[in-house]
């Protein structure tokens, strides 16, 4: 693995697993999109096709105890943090076998025991929560980090400013990962943020800010690794800006009028999965056939997930009022 | 000029009762009284007569003591002491009324008041005059004895009920002109003191407005006590020589009698002083009012002897209360059930209609009379002369009227009044338990007999 400069804890198996994981994420999102289009899944959804590398890249460095908070476009984070597609799909089908017994839905899938503190329907809603998680780590002297995923849009929310500042002044072990997919719903980041790189905002809170190619999983792993070291050494939080692009609309009824075809095709060229595949093959980590079979395994896992979801029982009237209070 | 919710002219039983009731119901009240509180009733009527009648009763009992095995050799009585006791009773009651007025914050004006149509009252107190104004006014001026100008009357000394109770010495012979309630009661007083009493009545019987049987019974009793009663007799004239000579005429035959003293008690006339610039309507000499005691002028009411009718103290009070209620917007529909009492020996009491009145109203009348002669308590206390009569309506047994004659009936009549007021019928009266032995159980006997279920009758 000559020029595959990856953090040392990352082995070739990890890379292969990551390649398959990215396909799992993509097929999950495509299948979900298909089902929503057929009206078989209820409500709406926000898909992270094209952003697989930032989720997989960051979570590759995390242990089970480490915690993440996610966004309304969080299927990728979920899978990357160890959630299984079958329970996720069951949740989207509203079945009691889903992660949240069918009560949470696409924007709120969470698995607290597995460290996934949950997706969040409120833009920037999860950022203060991540800071809180980091506060617990500091106060109880637990050696875990908390990764906080959010989009470029969230950086204009009050909660982002207040939480990052609080983490900074208390030197909390939290890593703020801004997946800058260029658009906050229909607002292009160029119209909504004056500065070129969101990472430069970190300086105003006295914490380091790093720009990374969100579609290069290797680079994402490296910058995440550095941030984890800082956090674990009590040097406080880091802001990572992952430049990436979401191939699909904001949600199912988005005709993407706000951007051009060329721009989309330009970013499709930087397909994170294709780039990892070419890298692994060129580094002879895997062969073309292995890549094919990994891809098929991923698709199979998703189709099984759909079957599992469709068998799951629907909740009954009695479920309505449970779980309101602990 | 001060303003009151209610101003009342006259402090008699009509005036002071309505003043207190109005105050209790939250109205600001003024009471105008020229003479003494309590009016005729307290000072010159009911109270003095009942007080002296008690004296008379005791004298009679002393005279009767032999019947009860009590030997009294000789006794005497002191008229001045009796009059003094009478005045002491009146004083005590008058102070009572005064303190009631104070506790109820009623403003008392001690003077004669005249009222005008704008409801302004001018009161003369000594020399100065005070003016006061009121939303509503109740006229309770009361009445005074009526003295007909019979020929020669002016040049002989005579009493009216106003003066007779302050008499200095017991007359040997007393002639009473008028066989009404007042005349008869005074007759009983002086008869007990040994005065020879003669009564001159124009009508064919005494107490003409009451039940005929009661009148006949009373006349018989009074005669048995030595009181001479001349009915259908007119007074022609009076002449003064050493004694007073009274010319009378009955069935065209003129006679005359000598007497020491004369009492005029032929009726009472309303005190109209103070009403001259008030354009109220009159009915004969009495002020005309509607069923809620209101005169022709809105907000001006009249009650008591001033409007005629019963001319009784409790009638005046009841009429006063009805007027006050009307001022507060409430109007009573039911007409009065008014008991009447005569405190002669024995007494007469009645309530409701006589038989004639009932029949005139179209009721199918069936009445029932029961004598007291066989009554246990009567015999025991040798008070068994008298009767109870119930006048009832055939179909429903509605009690239309009750007449009682005998001892203590003035107390018992309230039983009959309450029965009629609460609309009890003969069945309930018969069904009710009366204490034995009592005179009042005669009511039970009458009801039982009326239902053909009599026990002793």
């Amino acid at each position: 693995m000559k020029d595959l400069k990856v953090p040392e804890r990352i082995t070739e198996e990890n890379l292969i697993e990551l390649y398959k994981q990215m396909w799992t994420i993509r097929y999950f999102e495509e299948k979900v999109d298909q089902f929503f289009a057929k009206g078989k899944i209820h409500g709406t959804t926000h898909l992270a096709v094209g952003q697989e590398a930032s989720a997989a890249g960051v979570c590759a460095l995390l242990d089970k105890e480490d915690k993440i908070t996610s966004t309304h476009r969080g299927h990728g984070h979920c899978i990357a943090k160890g959630a299984t597609p079958d329970k996720m799909m069951a949740e989207l089908f509203g079945r009691t076998t889903g992660y949240c017994k069918g009560k949470g839905g696409s924007m709120h899938i969470a698995d607290v025991e597995m460290g996934n503190l949950g997706a969040n329907g409120i833009v920037g809603g999860g950022i203060p929560l991540a800071v809180g998680s980091a506060l617990t780590a500091q106060m109880k002297k637990l050696n875990y980090v908390t990764v906080c995923f959010f989009g470029d849009g969230a950086t204009n929310e009050g909660s982002f400013h207040e939480a990052v500042n609080l983490a900074a002044v208390w030197n909390l072990p939290v890593i703020f990962v801004c997946e800058n997919n260029q658009y906050g719903m229909s607002g292009s980041v160029k119209e909504m943020v004056k500065i070129e790189d969101i990472a430069t905002r970190a300086k105003s809170y006295g914490i380091p800010g790093v720009v990374a190619d969100g579609n290069d999983i290797i680079e994402m792993m490296n910058v995440t690794n550095e941030a984890i070291e800082r956090a674990k050494n009590g040097e406080g939080p880091t802001l990572i800006e992952a430049k990436t692009y979401r191939w699909k609309g904001h949600s199912k009824s988005d005709a993407k009028k706000y951007r051009t075809r060329d721009e989309e095709n330009e970013w499709r060229e930087k397909d994170p999965i294709k780039r990892l595949k070419e890298l692994l093959i060129s580094e002879s980590v895997i062969t073309e056939e292995q890549a094919e079979s990994l891809q098929k395994e991923a698709l199979k896992e998703i189709e099984d997930a759909v079957a599992f979801a469709e068998e799951g029982p629907m909740p009954t009237k009695d479920d309505l009022l449970t779980d309101v209070f602990a | 000029m001060t303003n009151f919710d209610v101003a009342i002219i006259g402090g008699g039983p009509g005036g002071y009762v309505s003043a207190i009731r109005a105050a209790k119901l939250g109205l600001s009240v003024a009471l105008v009284e020229g003479r003494e509180l309590g009016g005729t009733c307290l000072n010159r009527g009911c109270i003095p007569s009942k007080t002296l009648l008690k004296n008379a009763e005791v004298i009679n009992q002393v005279k009767d003591s032999k019947k009860f095995g009590i030997q009294i050799d000789s006794f005497s009585f002191d008229l001045d002491a009796m009059v003094e006791r009478k005045n002491q009773v009146i004083g005590q009651l008058r102070n009572g009324i005064n303190s009631l007025l104070i506790t109820n914050k009623i403003k008392l004006y001690n003077g004669y008041g005249t009222v005008d149509n704008q409801k302004v009252i001018t009161v003369e107190i000594g020399e100065e005059t005070e003016k006061l104004e009121a939303e509503s006014i109740i006229l309770a001026n009361g009445s005074k004895p009526f003295v007909p100008n019979l020929p020669g009357l002016s040049n002989v000394p005579y009493h009216t009920s106003d003066t007779v109770f302050d008499i200095e010495e017991v007359p040997g012979h007393l002639t009473i002109i008028g066989g009404g309630v007042i005349g008869l009661e005074i007759a009983c007083i002086f008869q007990s003191m040994g005065t020879k009493v003669e009564i001159i009545e124009m009508a064919d019987r005494i107490i003409p407005s009451e039940d005929k049987e009661a009148a006949d019974f009373l006349a018989k009793e009074l005669k048995s006590k030595g009181i001479v009663i001349h009915t259908s007799t007119k007074v022609l004239s009076f002449k003064k020589n050493e004694k007073t000579n009274v010319q009378i005429e009955k069935n065209g035959k003129e006679t005359s009698l000598e007497t020491d003293s004369v009492l005029i008690s032929v009726g009472r006339e309303p005190n109209l002083a103070g009403l001259d610039n008030l354009s109220v309507n009159y009915e004969g000499k009495f002020v005309k009012v509607d069923e809620s005691m209101q005169t022709a002028i809105k907000g001006i009411y009249a009650i008591g002897d001033l409007i005629g009718g019963y001319q009784l103290a409790h009638a005046a009070s009841e009429e006063g209360i009805r007027a006050v209620d009307h001022i507060l917007g409430e109007n009573h529909k039911k007409d009065f059930i008014m008991p009447r009492c005569i405190y002669t020996f024995p007494e007469i009491a009645s309530v409701g209609m006589t038989e004639e009145q009932a029949e005139a109203k179209g009721y199918q009348v069936k009445s029932q009379k029961v004598d007291l002669t066989a009554n246990g308590k009567g015999i025991a206390s040798s008070e068994n002369n008298g009767f109870m009569k119930i006048i009832s309506e055939k179909k429903y047994g509605e009690i239309l009227g009750v007449v009682m004659a005998g001892a203590h009936v003035t107390e018992m009549v309230s039983q009959a009044t309450s029965f009629m007021y609460l609309e009890g019928t003969m069945e309930e009266l018969e069904d009710m338990v009366f204490p034995h032995p009592t005179l009042s159980e005669a009511m039970f006997e009458a009801a039982a007999k009326w239902l053909d279920k009599g026990i002793h009758y």
């Binding site: 915690k67 908070t69 889903g98 992660y99 949240c100 017994k101 069918g102 009560k103 949470g104 839905g105 709120h108 969470a110 698995d111 607290v112 025991e113 503190l117 949950g118 969040n120 329907g121 409120i122 809603g125 950022i127 203060p128 929560l129 991540a130 800071v131 809180g132 998680s133 980091a134 506060l135 617990t136 780590a137 106060m139 109880k140 009050g158 909660s159 400013h161 207040e162 939480a163 500042n165 609080l166 002044v169 208390w170 449970t322 779980d323 309101v324 209070f325 602990a326 | -």
Partner: protein
């Protein structure tokens, strides 16, 4: 038994709990050396140090979110919001995050935290620092709401709130801080959702919250003189609400007057009134239910106007008499 103030009772409840339980800590603005805007946390930083008495930047959304996040991950934070009016800034975190996390995550995950905050008018702090917005949070499934009225109750209820595994909004009325009462020294807990009949009575039930409990008791004394026996019920917690005690009381007295300081329109009194109208007690109502609450205006600055804004003892007496046709 010794007497301490409502404020001392709050501090004592927190200190005693923090001595027992490491996970319990308090965060908020100016709660450290300054001792809290109303002096509730005075002396606590000296005992527990800045680690567990955490002075925060003025970021209600941020610190509320941090409290929720830490609660989700094992801590039991007590968040002091300096004025209950500022809940508007932390509303998203409380309503969309804290209240809903357990339900959205299908019962996995819990948020054991207490948001304590001084509330109510009477201190001349004017419109933005004197509100009573308990009806907002009482409307959100997932949040519990507590309004203690006495020093004894506040200590027991705060203990229960800290022990509760759910987010609890804990309102302390400013004018009550200085009121005294008998408070046991040892720790004790008053269960949430248990009303307290502060005064027995037979003719009318007065349900009152926070400061209004004291006004109701005063009114009841006056009414007693006029032969009217009033029962005063203090719900102590709005969510969960002890409906049973209120229903039994109204069924006994057959008349109900509900009084709270918050604006009458849309106030929690409407919830209590309709709960009664829908309950067994309906058949025992012998007069229309009466509600008293704040006037429909922001809280005025002028002290006289401020007093008028809130139901007075005389208003309670008048309302009671109206239910008895004696007004």
């Amino acid at each position: 038994m010794r007497e301490i103030t409502y404020l001392e009772a709050v501090r004592e409840a927190m200190s005693q709990e923090m001595r027992e339980n490491e996970d319990v800590f308090i965060l908020g603005e100016d709660i450290g050396v300054y001792g809290g805007a109303f002096g509730v946390t005075r002396g606590m930083i000296e005992e527990f140090g800045p680690e567990r008495v955490r002075n925060t930047p003025i970021s209600e959304s941020g610190i509320a979110g941090a409290a929720i996040g830490s609660a989700l991950t094992g801590m039991r934070p007590i968040l002091e919001l300096q004025f209950s009016d500022f809940i508007t800034i932390a509303m998203d975190q409380m309503v969309n995050q804290a209240a809903k996390i357990r339900y959205m995550y299908g019962g996995k995950g819990k948020v054991p935290m207490v948001l304590r905050t001084p509330s109510g008018s009477g201190t001349g702090a004017a419109a933005q620092h004197s509100q009573s917005l308990e009806a907002w949070v009482a409307h959100i499934p997932g949040l519990k709401v507590v309004q203690p009225s006495t020093a004894h109750d506040v200590k027991g209820l705060l203990k229960a709130a800290i022990d509760d595994d759910n987010p609890v909004i804990f309102y302390e009325h400013k004018l009550l801080y200085k009121t005294k009462g008998e408070v046991p020294e040892e720790q004790y807990s008053i269960p949430l959702g248990k009303a307290d009949v502060k005064r027995e009575g037979t003719d009318v039930t007065i349900v009152a919250t926070a400061i209004m409990v004291h006004h109701a008791l005063e009114a009841a004394e006056e009414l007693e003189k006029e032969g009217i026996s009033a029962e005063v019920v203090d719900p102590r917690t709005l969510v969960p609400l002890d409906t049973e005690t209120i229903i039994n009381s109204v069924s006994k007295t057959s008349r109900l007057v509900v009084v709270h300081e918050a604006v009458k329109r849309g106030g929690y009194g409407a919830e209590i009134a309709s709960m009664i109208a829908e309950s067994e007690a309906f058949d025992y109502l012998d007069a229309p239910i009466k509600r008293l609450g704040g006037a429909s205006s922001p809280i005025p600055y002028n002290p006289e106007l401020e007093k008028m804004h809130v139901p007075q003892v005389s208003d309670i007496i008048q309302a009671v008499k109206e239910t008895l046709n004696k007004a």
